[in-house]
Amino acid sequence: MADEKEAAAEATPPGGAKPGPVGSPPMTPLEPGTGATPAAQPYGRSNTIGPGIVSAATAGKAPAAEREGVSRRSFMKWSLPVGWVAFSAACASSLVATARFLFPNVLFEPPQSFKAGFPGEYNVGEVDVRWKDAYGVWIVRNPEGFYALIAVCTHLGCSPNWLPAENKFKCPCHGSGFYMTGVNFEGPAPRPLERARIVLADDGQILVDKSVKFQSEKGEWTKPEAFLKV
């Protein structure tokens, strides 16, 4: 080791080594043995690794390595941050990908919109329960047309039932009651049932879309797609 240091010191061209990377002062080899103290090392400002490492790494070898173009110090100066940035990026992208894993692309649940047959299949003045189990929607036919009520209680989200004998929707959880129009009249429910978008599709069938909701208390039941006139 000592021989190596002496050889390296002798091999340094007069006037010091060529300039180091960006803004660092020219490298000068340390005398063997003066080594590791921060006070003794002349290039503390450009030192990115720490005094101990730099002096140990460069004391004997750097000048010799510099003849081949890349010194150990300049290699470390760039490879360490690049390595850490790459490692951090890999960790962060893994984390993002893992979070994305929790949001499936394919759902095993009924679609939000569906075709509900032709208008002639519904009787005037009746609440139709045929789509309730599959899609959670009642379709009501009154003399003027159709509306679709979403079968979710506005109290805490249970599914009410249509009771034909009592002519009302009744929620089994806390007893909220709604008229055929969807307006609440008993129990804890604070507002009427919500209606879904209901239009005629190109093929003449009724199209119901639960992703578009109309709320009575916001005055939305008067909007054109909240009610299908026939």
């Binding site: 893992t98 929790l102 394919v106």
Partner: protein, 268 residues
């Protein structure tokens, strides 16, 4: 007294304030590990670190000596636990769903590589656990006082292989079903407890055999006479809960035993 002190910089004052709160002091109950006493306290007062030795020989942690195989095996176990947990969100262990759920995990679910990470990790863990055993053998680290820990390790090896075996059925494809059929057929020949094994005739009440195809070790493993719904559910529960639980407990014992037996053994 306060006037005699020079004004402290803002960051230093904030740091002092934070480190003197009850929350901080209830979590970090000792100073910085800058001296030997605090270094010992760090290890002794942390439930995870206390499994490890307070001090180890520098020679004992040389990569050339340990190959880091035990640590890598544990790391892979953690990888398997984490990826397995995520897979459980999508996989349903029933005959109707299992195969399609595996296909969906590759083709529909985001990051379709998750199941492959789990599978590669499983292969890698079997390899590293064998290499760990080989290293322990070649360095003589099984010798007293470490012979107890060697046996714990042997059980952990068997559990690792059983984890692979039970996980192998879950994709529910032809390879899985017939591999487990062949594998579980070996249980027919279990002495006394397998209906085709030696001594199974000994357990009988008069002419009525106690050990038959509907009551032997294979039946208990499969939950049926062939690899079907019962086997899939049993293997799933063993794979996800039963074996990892036992392995986790034994791993804690294994690591703690390393400490109690004097740390990683020295080079020969």
């Amino acid at each position: 007294m306060a006037t005699a002190k020079p004004p402290q910089p803002f960051l230093s004052r904030t740091w002092d304030y934070i480190t003197e709160t009850q929350i901080w002091r209830s979590i970090f109950r000792h100073g910085m590990p800058a001296n030997n006493r605090n270094r010992v306290l760090v290890v002794m007062s942390n439930v995870f670190l206390h499994l490890h030795p307070v001090k180890i020989r520098k020679s004992g942690i040389r990569l050339k000596f340990t190959w880091c195989m035990g640590g890598l095996t544990f790391f892979l176990f953690l990888v398997e636990t984490f990826t397995g947990l995520l897979l459980m969100f999508y996989y349903r262990p029933t005959v109707a769903y299992a195969y399609m759920d595996i296909i969906d995990l590759a083709e529909q679910v985001p990051l379709g590589i998750m199941r492959e990470i789990h599978r590669w990790g499983a292969h890698a863990m079997v390899i590293t656990v064998w290499l760990h055993m080989f290293r322990v053998f070649m360095t003589g680290s099984y010798k007293p006082p470490r012979e107890f820990n060697w046996n714990v390790g042997v059980i952990l090896l068997v559990l690792t292989l059983l984890l692979s075996f039970t996980g192998y059925l879950l994709p529910w494809d032809q390879l899985a079903i017939w591999a487990i059929t062949v594998g579980s057929n070996m249980a027919r020949a279990t002495p006394v407890l397998g209906h085709e094994g030696p001594g199974s005739q000994l357990l009988a009440l008069g002419d009525v055999k106690m050990v038959h195809a509907g009551s032997d070790a294979r039946f208990a493993l499969l939950g049926g006479r062939f690899v079907g719904e019962g086997a899939l559910l049993r293997f799933y529960v063993l794979h996800c809960v039963g074996i990892p639980l036992v392995a986790g407990i034994l791993m804690a014992v294994h690591f703690w035993r390393v400490r109690k037996d004097g740390g990683i053994s020295g080079p020969l």
